[in-house]
Amino acid sequence: MDEQSDKELVKQFRKGNNHAYTLLVKRHQDRIYRLACIYLYHEQDAMDACQEVFMRAYKGLAGFRFQSEPFTWLYRTLRNVCSEYNRKFSRDKYVQHDEEVISNIVDSANTETTQHLIEVREIIKKLPRRQHEVVLLRIFEGLSIEETATTMNCRPGTVKALLNKAQKQLRILNG
């Protein structure tokens, strides 16, 4: 059952198989959590956002039209949820330095992980929003060009161009 595609799992879930939903969540929860950590500024917010995404998935996958991959659906929901959170809790609530903020995201004992998240944020925050998204999905999450294009609702050529620009920009910024 683990080798079933996401779409097959969604089909089974729609037939009433909750185990299929569990498998789908387990398959994507780490990735969704990591992205939430990058987009949000607080551990609790990142976890709440993930829970909100999967709750919406539980309610919303009944109406899934199979025009895209379920991960695309989850990712777009995550972006919406994170935007709502960022708007709701305006930045002044978390006027802290990045290091301090991210140390809240992961276990404080795990300083290496904290450092990695800071480094990732340092890299992507220098880029415009679309390039930042491409770098995150293609390089850090390891999605294929096609998957990145579907997730970002654009053509594979656009992803390649954005990736190219991002790499050039990073090279310039790194000197």
């Binding site: 909750n18 939903y21 569990t22 498998l23 969540v25 387990k26 929860q29 780490d30 969704i32 959590y33 990591r34 950590c37 976890m47 993930c50 829970q51 999967f54 709750m55 998935a57 539980y58 009944a62 992961v106 276990d107 290496e112 992980t113 990695h116 998240l117 480094e119 990732v120 890299i123 390089i139 850090f140 999450e141 390891g142 790194n174």
Partner: protein, 137 residues
């Protein structure tokens, strides 16, 4: 350059090693749904049905309002009552009239009941009034 690439690869590997501290599959799934609306009763469908009904009701109301003032409560054949040629009678009804509201046009003068003289049917040429004037002169 290779060192930088290696650094990035390391960072990517370390980033991917971050896992969710919680299993969301158990947390996100409600244990029991107390009530679920039937699927056909979706909000867009309800909205469409309500707005269609509202449009039809509004049209019906306008039709009723449009009809109402012209709906005579009582039909009176004035040409028979007064003996006047029906083409002479012109009454504008804006609301349900009472008998006192009905006025003949000023140029009709008094009603001529003598229908023998066709010349007297001309508007403003009241036979009786003219005869009376002749007598006075």
């Amino acid at each position: 350059m290779n060192t930088k690439k290696q650094q990035l690869d390391n960072l990517v590997a370390q980033y991917r090693s971050i896992n969710s501290p919680v299993d969301f599959s158990a947390r996100a799934m409600p244990q029991k749904l107390t009530y679920a609306w039937p699927q056909w009763l979706s909000i867009p469908r309800l909205t469409l049905a309500t707005s269609t009904l509202a449009v039809f009701l509004t049209i019906g109301l306008f039709i009723q309002l449009d009809k109402a003032p012209y709906e005579p409560a009582l039909y009176v054949d004035l040409s028979q009552v007064t003996g006047v040629n029906p083409s002479w009678i012109e009454i504008t009804v804006t609301q349900a009239p009472s008998l006192s509201d009905i006025e003949l046009l000023p140029d009709m003068g008094q009603v001529n009941t003598d229908l023998s003289d066709p010349a007297s049917y001309q508007p403003g040429n009241n036979h009786e009034t003219n005869s009376h004037r002749q007598l006075n002169t």
